[in-house]
């Protein structure tokens, strides 16, 4: 039988104790305990979470896996030609297993921007009526039980960046579509200080339906459109300037959601109906890599956008086969790290 040296081209390190730091798959011999040791692997997967009381498509998400918030969006059915229900004002709060009704916004909206936590979230812009389509530049702030008005965006727009983008007092909105005919604000960046939006340096490319990861001073924007079904571009923001990330996402999709930060993030789901709509991608600050897949295709869902990449969720979103309807299911992402195991022959 081939030994470790023949297989790996390396000898197993002979150590008197476990190393303080080790990498996935690293093997060593602990001479004090007499055990062959292995640094295990990250085992990531999506499992089912609590079902929503109402499906929401093209809404926004905030918070964490055990203290999440989903707000706004279109409800099933929302088609204007089917006499559908209006855009939603309502929010729902998640505790890690079930959803409960939260405070209602003053204005129902879809395709808007939003981020934050379960007790301090922000919603801005978006489309507010179905038939005919009308839009808003208004901002609303959530305090954990009710929504209050904030400062207006500098332009009336929809399909701005979603998922992350900072906090209620230090936020950022990127791209989107200006509803004034003949104009475009697809590169527009605005920053919020808790009361006022200020236009700052443009993004480097047109963008809409993108995922923003991180804060107002350390952000990453990825995927989105145009063109349909999406692109794989990624850009960094340092609070002043935009730079190309230098690498792209694996899958060219729009309508994705994310969790994490500019240096450690996860993109989930995306434009349907495409099989890539089940893919997630892990960002380690340097490159994107395919990660666990969801059981259900969905686009334009809501995420626990303030989560770290070891535990989050994606919920709601567009149903891949029924136009204008929204999913009620939730899928929770967890990454379990199996560390420093004894290697046995059993």
């Amino acid at each position: 039988m081939a030994g470790y040296n023949e297989i790996k081209g390396l000898r197993v390190k002979y150590l008197s104790s476990d190393p303080a730091t080790s990498e996935e798959g690293q093997v060593w011999y602990n001479s004090f305990t007499g055990n062959l040791r292995l640094n295990g692997f990250v085992l990531s997967a999506f499992s089912s979470g609590g079902n929503r009381n109402d499906g929401q498509n093209d809404g926004c998400g905030a918070g964490t896996l055990t203290a999440g918030l989903a707000f706004g969006g279109g409800r099933n059915p929302n088609s204007p030609s089917s006499g559908g229900l209006p855009t939603q004002k309502q929010s729902e709060e998640y505790n890690g297993s079930s959803w409960a009704e939260g405070g209602a916004m003053s204005t129902g909206r879809v395709t808007f921007g939003g981020f934050g936590t379960q007790t301090a979230a922000l919603a801005f812009g978006g489309r507010i009526t179905n038939n005919t389509f009308t839009y808003t530049n208004a901002t609303e702030e959530y305090g954990g039980s009710s929504w209050t008005s904030g400062g207006n965006l500098g332009s009336t727009a929809y399909y701005m960046s979603r998922s992350g983008g900072g906090t209620q007092t230090a936020g950022v909105s990127v791209g989107g579509i200006n509803n004034i005919p003949g104009t475009s604000n697809d590169k527009r960046t605005e920053e919020y200080n808790g009361s006022t939006w200020t236009t700052v340096n443009n993004m480097l490319a047109n963008s809409r339906r993108t995922v923003y990861l991180g804060t107002q001073t350390a952000g990453l924007i990825a995927s989105g459109g145009p063109p349909a079904p999406g692109n794989n571009s990624a850009f960094n923001y340092d609070g002043t300037n935009w730079t190309a990330a230098g690498v792209g996402t694996v899958n060219a999709l729009s309508g994705r959601v994310g969790i994490g930060t500019a240096s450690a993030g996860l993109l989930m789901s995306g434009t349907v109906p495409f099989t890539q709509g089940q893919n997630s991608e892990l960002w380690n600050g340097t490159a994107f890599a395919n990660d666990a897949i969801t059981a259900t295709q969905r686009s334009d869902g809501q995420s626990s956008s303030a989560s770290t990449t070891d535990a989050g969720y994606v919920t709601g979103g567009g149903n891949p086969t029924t136009p204008g309807t929204a999913l009620t299911s939730t899928e929770e992402y967890t990454a379990t790290i199996a560390t420093k195991l004894n290697v046995t022959t059993s």
Partner: protein
């Protein structure tokens, strides 16, 4: 041996499928509550525990296709404005 088991089951929410389930067998949902499940002992046991109804691949495909067809007809009836906002549902072929 076939790669997949086909069945219908209603997603009841939390713990309907777990992190461990996802590592033990392939699992994907489709319209009409159709699930495609990796064909191993744990996959078969999961469907049984969820009060699922096993289907042949042809039966499962027919359920999915019927819902897709209905969705396409619904999309065709939409206004042009709404069509521009939504993708027409495409065909789904089960693996």
């Amino acid at each position: 041996m076939a790669l997949f088991i086909y069945g219908t089951a209603t997603n009841t929410g939390k713990d309907f499928f777990t992190h461990t389930d996802r590592q033990n067998f392939y699992l994907a949902s489709h319209p009409a509550d159709v699930w495609v499940i990796g064909n191993n002992e744990k996959g078969a046991l999961w469907l049984a525990k969820k009060n699922g109804v096993e289907k042949t691949k042809a039966e499962a495909q027919a359920l999915v296709t019927a819902q897709v067809t209905a969705a396409q007809e619904a999309w065709d009836a939409l206004s042009d404005a709404e069509k521009s906002r939504l993708n027409r549902p495409g065909p789904i072929t089960l693996p």
